[in-house]
Symmetry: D3
Subunit: 158 residues, 6 copies
């Protein structure tokens, strides 16, 4: 299975050797969303500091979840993350919440898994915060939209 770098020649999983790779500046952005009933979305939008800041709690969970990436993803290398931001936006067309996470490092391997884990943890936390009033939400659209730095160069998607 050439190409699947997480396995060796005998098909055994390993954490791939990155010790000879250059230390470079790397960035990745990932996106995702939580779809919900319009009324649930309204509750979140009206929230904020007074009635309960769903988005603020979820943002923080995403940032902290990002730091747990190498604990969650078995073959991920631990990386010295140098920046994490998580943006959440109410999207009436969805309807629900759009999530964007951006992560940076100066290291020997990319941070797309860190960005995806940030989005994923943020989405799960939004779900948890409002599940008492909406039992049919869906999390989706989780993908990498930007990756730069390292050997494979810049990759952009929407």
């Amino acid at each position: 299975m050439s190409g699947l770098t997480h396995f060796d020649a005998e098909g055994q999983a390993h954490m791939v050797d990155v010790s000879e790779k250059a230390v470079t500046s790397r960035i990745a952005t990932a996106k995702g969303w939580v779809r919900m009933a319009p009324a649930t979305m309204e509750m979140i939008a009206e929230g904020g500091a007074k009635k309960g800041d769903v988005l603020g709690v979820a943002r923080l969970a995403g940032i902290m979840g990002c730091k747990k990436t190498p604990e969650l993803i078995p073959l991920c290398h631990p990386l010295p993350i140098t920046k994490v931001s998580v943006d959440l936006e109410i999207d009436a067309d969805l309807p629900g919440v759009q999530i964007t996470a951006t992560v940076k490092t100066t290291g020997q391997t990319g941070v797309e898994m860190e960005a995806l884990t940030a989005v994923s943890t943020t989405a799960l936390t939004v779900y948890d915060m409002v599940k008492a009033v909406d039992k049919y939400m869906e999390i989706g659209g989780i993908r990498v939209t930007l990756k730069d730095g390292g050997k494979s160069g810049r990759i952009e998607a929407e």
Copy 2:
């Protein structure tokens, strides 16, 4: 914002008091998928023990991730999980991998966040294992399809 139990009367986040709730048997099932190029899906399908067991690694990551739910989701209660299973299936129509996780506990609150976290971690690990050959995958369809036990009774969805 009545209904959002994770906030108190002043809108401050708290871990809700479940100490008076009954200890009952609870179960939850969640689903999700990873969509990818047909060739990527073929690689995974041909894998298995000889060439690299992507699904086996992802299943284990999902089970271990499930145990981290209260560390990841800020207001989740720690729960004594009594069962976790994660099933992965190749789906040529997607094309990609379908994921189903089932979690049980005997406790004072439900396990749908645990099931969703298992699915989410499994999906992220599938992504990580094959991202070297496919840079445009998407994770989606993450939702609860069964929840039973506790006060709110049985909820089923597809």
Copy 3:
């Protein structure tokens, strides 16, 4: 050193056997504060959702830190926490921020260490959030003000 239950007869540290203790409802409240320059306190007070919600971030950190108590305190038993709340108040007389944490469990040992750890983590996070503008803050007044449930009965202090 009779009385120090965390050591055995030879003075060796151990996690004390609570398997014969009754499972009862237990509660503990702890308090503490962060003292800072009046201008720093003003910044926090003016914050909130628009300019940066220092107290909201610190409250969440306290709740999550509470769940880490048995990882941090070597001889603490893991406990099924059933409630955590953390309140923060601006105190112009201090000047600074007053913190109160309340924790409940239904278990075989008390939760005062969990309440103290919640206060402590909350205070450290307030410190971290504003240390860029104030390098001479002090954290203090960390103590248990209420403990109830279990063999030793109700203890109150101020």
Copy 4:
């Protein structure tokens, strides 16, 4: 709220970008204390290897707690800590135990939160070890007394 670097222009919490900051040698020292009844202090002082080494257990907890700083403080960067020491001294005037922690790194941001977390975890562990005989202890005086390395230069306090 200019100055509060942990928030962006819209007041949203983020882990600030340090990727352009220089990698320099950094050191921080923090202090704190646990005040207790004179008899409790005597028990600790008489302890040591034979009767139960409260200070040795607390020192180790402080060192291990220090490594957990980025897990506890939401917006802290993970850092490659290169040294941690924790000193504990009996102080009859307090009465109680004085704690001093010193942390070093070679990195892009300072280690005062690591030093404060070490002190805080050490103090909580002293409390836990002797709480069976003293229910009215207080933890306080937690502050940074030295910070050096990095852009803001040397800061000393007592």
Copy 5:
């Protein structure tokens, strides 16, 4: 592969369902050792509070490691541990250090993995503490010597 309860009928790993098993008192004892040069053993024996308490540090690491068992062993259930003790003895015949760990719980599954993990972490920590003076140590003899409670009854071994 009947008998291997950690796999289902298709050979897929899962965390086995214990929700129908009785909650009973359970205990397990495990043993192990670290073999080293006689001079290394002497150094440890002469240590203690004055020169560096290798055994005290290792004991504490074993107790804390025990609490991490469900994080380390993929298919282990999280359990409410009610007691952990770790004993270390200098053994001139080995030569080296003998380790014994005893763990108790009141739960639905046994604690032999917790006892083995405590022994294993203790042994690794002894190794770490003295590896600067002895590069040829060996860890071995790790086995369960007592298991009681639960359906399979009492098992003793030496």
Copy 6:
């Protein structure tokens, strides 16, 4: 107790200062085994993808456990691991399973504890996976067989 670098002049445990040590490429290999009944070994050998992949699960646990080394071993420095591989082989002469782990880093201190922790976690997981059919297994032979990089030069053993 000169030589025991994990203690200072007063015999107090500390995380030794490595900030002045050179950043170099470092590698370590450790080995160990799990001895079991011949029938248990046969079950594992016949396993693989169809009947339950004991070795695959244990390998992954070893890789993930390796990343937890600084959480488990109190005075270990956190290190940016750049490679981990874990090999398992059926050994009919033992009878049982032989384990070899190799770890690399580019850092200021060696990775033999990381390699030993990988072996140890792998062995514990093999034990856990088959303990339902074999209650008298033993884990042993855990030692460092190669260490290179850093000041002390290359060390090889069998």
